[in-house]
């Protein structure tokens, strides 16, 4: 992990938008991210996913992928890797209620990933404040890797 990663989510809390300030349709700030094999494999080990497509270069080279790839759900890492410290997804107390993702191409070690993201909707249900976010990740060739939506309950 690089030294730039901020692990204290309280540090920038005051700079993040609260539910009242989030505008559906408004783009979120994003930053390009260089996806390394180390980051892919750290993610894989954390979820006990040791498939040789992610770890065995010879196996992966002989596969239809022609080389090592990342697992589809690598967007879990990319969501935080491609957003700055003041992004509201980091607000302490943000509760994830569910997500849906579609997969086009696998991400690969060495890719430079970019994200287009926005709040899509916000609503109140059972006294809880919800925001829906939608996201598309691209590789350095402009090809879609995956796209998805998430439902979060915002801190009160």
């Amino acid at each position: 992990m690089g030294p730039a990663v901020e692990t204290d989510f309280w540090k920038d809390a005051a700079r993040r938008k609260i539910w009242d300030e989030i505008v559906p349709g408004e783009k979120r700030k994003t930053i390009p991210y260089h996806l390394t094999l180390e980051a892919i494999q750290r993610y894989c080990r954390a979820v006990d996913d040791l498939h040789p497509l992610y770890f065995d270069a010879d196996y992966a080279r002989r596969s239809v992928h022609g080389g090592l790839i990342a697992p589809p759900a690598i967007h879990i890492l990319l969501m935080f890797a491609c957003t700055p410290a003041d992004d509201w997804m980091r607000s302490p107390g943000t509760v994830n209620a569910g997500q849906s993702w579609s997969y086009n191409l696998p991400a690969r070690p060495g890719d430079t990933i970019t994200l287009e993201a926005r709040a899509l909707d916000k609503f109140i249900r059972k006294e809880r404040l919800f925001v829906v976010h939608d996201n598309v990740f691209f590789n350095q060739h402009g090809a879609v890797i995956c796209s998805g939506r998430g439902w979060t309950i915002r801190p009160m």
């Binding site: 992990m1 990663v5 901020e6 692990t7 204290d8 989510f9 309280w10 750290r42 993610y43 080990r45 954390a46 979820v47 006990d48 996913d49 498939h51 497509l53 239809v64 697992p71 589809p72 759900a73 879990i76 890492l77 969501m79 935080f80 890797a81 980091r90 302490p92 107390g93 943000t94 509760v95 994830n96 209620a97 569910g98 997500q99 849906s100 993702w101 579609s102 997969y103 059972k126 006294e127 809880r128 309950i153 801190p155 009160m156």
Partner: protein, 143 residues
């Protein structure tokens, strides 16, 4: 490949691997995902309430469920030359250190489109008390 797709039937079960949740696995997931929300790390913070909800302690990232379900689906799909194309999930109960989670899929339907062939799969994630902690639906393509 045609034979593999033809042999699939509604009701076929896909079993995922068990995953034991601990503070260490949660911390590892923080480092792997860069998601350091205090929901997953801070006992003092989690002693409080969130509106109407009190979790009673730190909880696992919901997206760990997503990752474990994904692993089940990709292990199943890769072995068949198929491609995991979509996963939709809802979290119903939080998971905590000490829980053991196990995902399972059940093939719901097959669909042939103009260019490809697909299966839809219902997903459930259960804990060691057989409580459903997450549900979902997936699509796998058989090109």
């Amino acid at each position: 490949m045609t034979g593999i797709f033809d042999a699939l039937a509604a009701g076929d079960v896909i079993d995922g691997a068990a995953f034991a949740v601990s503070r260490e696995t949660i911390r590892d997931f923080c480092d792997a995902s860069l998601d350091y929300n205090p929901l997953h790390l801070d006992d003092a913070y989690m002693a409080g309430s969130f509106g109407k909800t009190n979790f009673g302690g730190v909880i696992m990232h919901g997206m760990t469920n997503f990752a474990l379900i994904t692993r089940m689906l990709t292990d199943w799909a890769y072995a068949k030359g198929a491609v995991h194309r979509r996963l939709e999930t809802r979290w119903l109960k939080p998971a905590r250190p000490g829980d053991t989670l196990r995902p399972q899929g059940r093939l719901k339907a097959k669909q042939v489109t103009s260019r490809s062939r697909w299966v839809t799969i219902d997903i459930e994630m259960r804990n060691q008390r057989d409580e459903i902690v997450a549900t979902g639906e997936a699509m796998v393509e058989f090109p």
